[in-house]
Symmetry: C2
Subunit: 328 residues, 2 copies
Amino acid sequence: MTIEFQHSDRTQDALRASHLYYLQDLTMEAIARELGTSRSSVSRLLSYARETGLVDIQIKSPLDQATVVSDALHRRFNVVAHVVPVPDQTTDVDRLDRVALSAARILTQFVDSNMVIGVAWGSTVSAISRYLVPKATHGSMVVQLNGAANTRTTGIVYASEILRRFGDAFGAQVQQFPVPAFFDDPDTKIALWRERSTKRVLELQESMDVVLFGIGAADALVPSHVYSGGYLERTDHESLLHDGVVGDVATVFFREDGSSSDITLNRRASGPDFATIRRAPRRVCVVAGTSKVAGLRGALAAHLITDLILDESTARALLAGQSDEGPS
Amino acid sequence: MTIEFQHSDRTQDALRASHLYYLQDLTMEAIARELGTSRSSVSRLLSYARETGLVDIQIKSPLDQATVVSDALHRRFNVVAHVVPVPDQTTDVDRLDRVALSAARILTQFVDSNMVIGVAWGSTVSAISRYLVPKATHGSMVVQLNGAANTRTTGIVYASEILRRFGDAFGAQVQQFPVPAFFDDPDTKIALWRERSTKRVLELQESMDVVLFGIGAADALVPSHVYSGGYLERTDHESLLHDGVVGDVATVFFREDGSSSDITLNRRASGPDFATIRRAPRRVCVVAGTSKVAGLRGALAAHLITDLILDESTARALLAGQSDEGPS
DNA sequence: AACCCCCGTGCACATATGTGCACGTGTAGG
DNA sequence: CCTACACGTGCACATATGTGCACGGGGGTT
């Protein structure tokens, strides 16, 4: 008639080990004894617990003494900045990786149950998706921000892989958006936008709680997908140049001052317009590498960003510019 | 004209090191190179960051697969249980210590800015106070639940030391309650309760967001202060026995069924009545050692507890009893 | 039944981390 | 100016942790 206290599950052991290790400061040796197993197994249990998100490690920069840089960003652009320390001479590839790793872990804190999470699928978001720390939530939904198909591929595999990673990590349902990144004919877009299946996605986008995106920039050293993946024609590039575009967010282009009206290509873009993005209370932008500064500046001017995760050099480059935006 | 990015502060280094270590998985060696210091200093920086609460490590038992025990407690008593793994043969002193360590770290998660935090000052809470992890908050207030003076000492030093630790850890103001634990004459209490200085404390207690307390039990192996510290006379003990008391929370006694009416001694107790405690949305009870099970059962019956932190054996002992409380 | 594959385990070794100690620097006081 | 002291640093060593490898026990297949 005794109640059974089996800890059959590997997770149970991991939980217990984590508690003993992180909450009671026992050594792995001691934990091994309590669990009746070998020290190495404990080491593995703990890695498992970390990978699985059973253990969650957060860094809290005391708000009153945040770093000078992040503080300056807050004052200048009215965003919460998470500055990722990366040595200056790091290559842009490594830089992206390190920023993505940090971003993935920071992102976890923003996600919770019953949220609608919009994600783009550029190289930045893709990198992040590889490092996501699982967090169990209920009733959440991951929605794709913009289409992925281009003239060479449907892009589905690539984009859906990214989406799937997000869905897996947060136990969320995934809503794909199976349309081209850019339409050939704006009228097709208009027509498709009237379809009920499309509308469902658009409505989800309207109710996003969190949006995650990078910045597209033509001259990034790690080229953004949109500019290198066969999505745009030569004439498109010329059109962008002509319209004074400095970058894009989820296929929607903008100028350095944040304006995006009368940019021809936007009529064919599949991404959400900026009003939709701004409707989300938390809008997380991740940027690695100074080549995206101009674009970033535009996105800030457009008030697309509430939380900015970026590497240190980029933060400096951003601050080095003179134009003040100030809290609106 | 370059902006200065000094990281003069030790905290800044610690923050950066923590980011690199916990968010980017760099080795301390690598961090030392980036910071231009020795590996040992990095090790020290990281300890500093942990002690200081710059880094916050949480264990999240996925709600859908919480341990069997904590789950059973939830169903049986409608509390969120945090079961601290402790080997069965541990002495009660060690047991208290380990539970207190875990409790201190769990407690951090419950505290936030602008909260009123009520704390008792028994041996359990005292142990917890020694392990608190600092967490910067603003506008918080720590309020003492019950008086501490007795016939031998004013108790002020002891209780205030505990209170101070809480205040320090959370950057909170401290509100002491300089009255006897038990009055000799109930009328003195009534009179004093009308004083404005007393009323201020009582009002604070009415608006507590979090309460932290242990369980007092006469037969605990690590004797509760109230029963051993010269607070009660022989006749008092007899009176308690006569009234069927199984324990107390902050000097207020109750029976196994949770009732506390007509317990003579309560008229002389300085602690808040149970209605006041129940007004707090989060009521954290910490218990180590099976000798307190009877008392704990009473406190549960009185609905004094929303969050229960206890060691494993005690949890089992609690469950081993047959009486069901069930969600109310 | 015999076989094989998958998985979890402990061992032994390679790394990574923690810490006593001695040194050097800066500051307050004599 | 000298002395004393507090504090932070790196070194060297002691511990603690991570990981490749080989072993062995289910469970499914032939």
